[in-house]
């Protein structure tokens, strides 16, 4: 008998009495009066920044005011029309070649008010390493009509909204990379991005 069979048999022999699976109905969970404000506040508390913009021009303007963006030599944008990308992803063969990207601009699908997280998948980002290796990251979350549509209250809603389809990788990103492993002192910029800026773009089509 192979290990798989041995383990399954042992599990079956030891199964506890059957217990029903609880429903996780919405309605029990917290709702925020102003989701956008809650998202912004929490994001700031976890070391990120949030910026609300109403047009592509405004977005690009704001981007140019970020010192990290101005100082960046290698910029990789996966959001058409945002930033001056000089790392053409078509030419990249190996994710290791992205090691020295200073600034990446990536599309986020929606934000979560309770924890300041943004859902990202590699459907739009060819190399998932772009979420982790750049020195700085900006996410662009676009709202179709109202900004509040781009933010859900909590994680339960988040999982109803997101889809696990073809993309093999999905990520909630909440703030920059950080650690408190040395005497509980919070240090922003552990091995990954040193800063995270989320642009909430309210732009009716």
């Amino acid at each position: 008998m192979d290990s798989r069979e041995v383990i399954l048999r042992s599990v079956r022999q030891n199964l506890p009495p059957k217990v029903e699976c609880p429903a996780l109905d919405q309605g029990h969970w917290i709702c925020y009066e102003d989701r956008v404000k809650q998202f912004t506040d929490v994001l700031e508390a976890v070391g990120g920044t949030c910026s609300i913009v109403h047009s592509m021009d405004e977005l690009n303007d704001q981007l140019h005011q970020l010192p990290a963006y101005c100082a960046a030599k290698k910029i990789c944008s996966c959001v058409p029309g945002v930033g001056e990308s000089n790392v053409p992803l078509e030419t990249i063969q190996d994710p290791h070649d992205l090691e020295d990207v200073d600034f990446a601009i990536l599309p986020g699908q929606f934000g979560v008010a309770e924890n300041g997280a943004v859902w990202i998948t590699d459907a739009e980002i060819k190399y998932r390493i772009l979420c982790f290796i750049p020195q700085h990251i900006a996410l662009v979350v676009r709202a179709k009509c109202d900004l509040a549509d781009a933010i859900v209250d909590h994680m339960h809603e988040a999982y109803h909204r997101l889809e696990i389809t073809d993309s093999s990788f999905g990520l909630f990103m909440s703030g920059p990379s950080k650690t408190a492993d040395i005497e509980q002192s919070l240090v922003i910029g552990a091995h990954g991005p040193r800063s995270l800026t989320v642009f909430l773009l309210e732009m009716p089509n």
Binding site: S10, N14, A158, H160, F169, H191
Partner: protein, 458 residues
Amino acid sequence: MSHIARHPELAAQFVSDGARTEWHDQALWFVRKKRDQMAHALPEWELLREKASQIKHHTMSHLDQYLLQFETKAIERGAQIHWARNAEEHNTIVLGILQEHHVTRLVKSKSMLTEECHLNPFLERHGIEVVDTDLGERIVQLKGEPPSHIVLPAIHLKKEEVGVVFHQHLGTDQGASDPNYLTEAARKHLREKFMAAQAGLSGVNFAVAETGGVVVCTNEGNADLGTSLPPLHIACMGIEKLVPRLEDLGLFLRLLARSATGQPITSYTSHFHGPRPGGELHIVLVDNGRSDLLGDPSHRRSLHCIRCGACINTCPVYRRSGGYSYHATIPGPIGSTLGPSRNMQDYYDLPYACSLCGSCTDICPVQINLDEQLLGWRHRIVAHRLLPWRKRLLMKLLSWTFRNTWMYVLAGKVARWTVPWMPRFLIYNPLNAWGKGREIPRMPKHSFREMYRKRIRK
């Protein structure tokens, strides 16, 4: 038989430095308070715990089905599944995958399972360089120590000590101890390791039966740097890590980081559904005693653990005795119940490293009845006559005294008369373990019975 240092002995070493004990205690209490703030900010906190517990009960009672469902779905998504009965098989499987891919440099993110299996020394013996990439784990790895906490591996070290380790291994300035400076040095060092690695190994926080995906949470992004650069990703998980549905993640993720470090969520919560294009994802499902534990009605709930570490942070014994005093991979309340279920003889002392205050049970996000489990272990340990003879004899004597009124009354009288006159060495000697660091209370003139009788007469 070689001498196994037991919790009281190891704890005595730890508390011999009073200032340090105080510092350790405060550091963990700080984390506990952050957790409280987060928990109190959510009106539905208790409901979340309740539901999480129910989901775990449900999952465990259908574990065979969910394992099979997970396997099918994960394979559909292109992952390769391996099953390991025990630690040796787990290690052999991992080594096999690495050798097949000619890997000599591996980066690893946090995984208590691989600690449990002693994977690192095994791989190193086979010529593979293993680099732990969680900063805390890297610190203790360089120091040649195991983690002292499951979430905060280097919580027992002061920044000056980290400075010394980094000076020796990473060439930081002598005497430098600024956390920012040290973290920056680690960043440079580890990014080189990430770039050079030929494979990445991660633990698994949750595995979803419905979709065949695994979820990994980190704050540093180290699991992702480690698994997104090289084409080979190995994820190792205990069979108890399953949740049935994708939506269950919402519940557990709300609880995990809040309970662990008082954060609303970790910086990165990555969902891996299959390998990345052109890469390979191997998932190793490990039993190593878990299915046996499932059959133990009084302790199976310890399989519900999501390894948040909250019970450890809140435990008054852990805070004042440190992770190493538990001589087990997982310390604190949860480790003290998991230890004896692995090997009662080796870990019989751990359920006694507990004041039965119940704080762990109150705080546990999945409502594990930790204090009851520890008490349950004590019953079994006594039944198996595993306690040292001194303690056994004392317990016998006490229980006999408590059962016989006349003896109890007499013992009280004798103590009240004699103790105040006894020289200290007679009271505080090696036979009286209780008197270590404690003073026996001042003997009253009369017993409660006597006082009560007097009052009634009045």
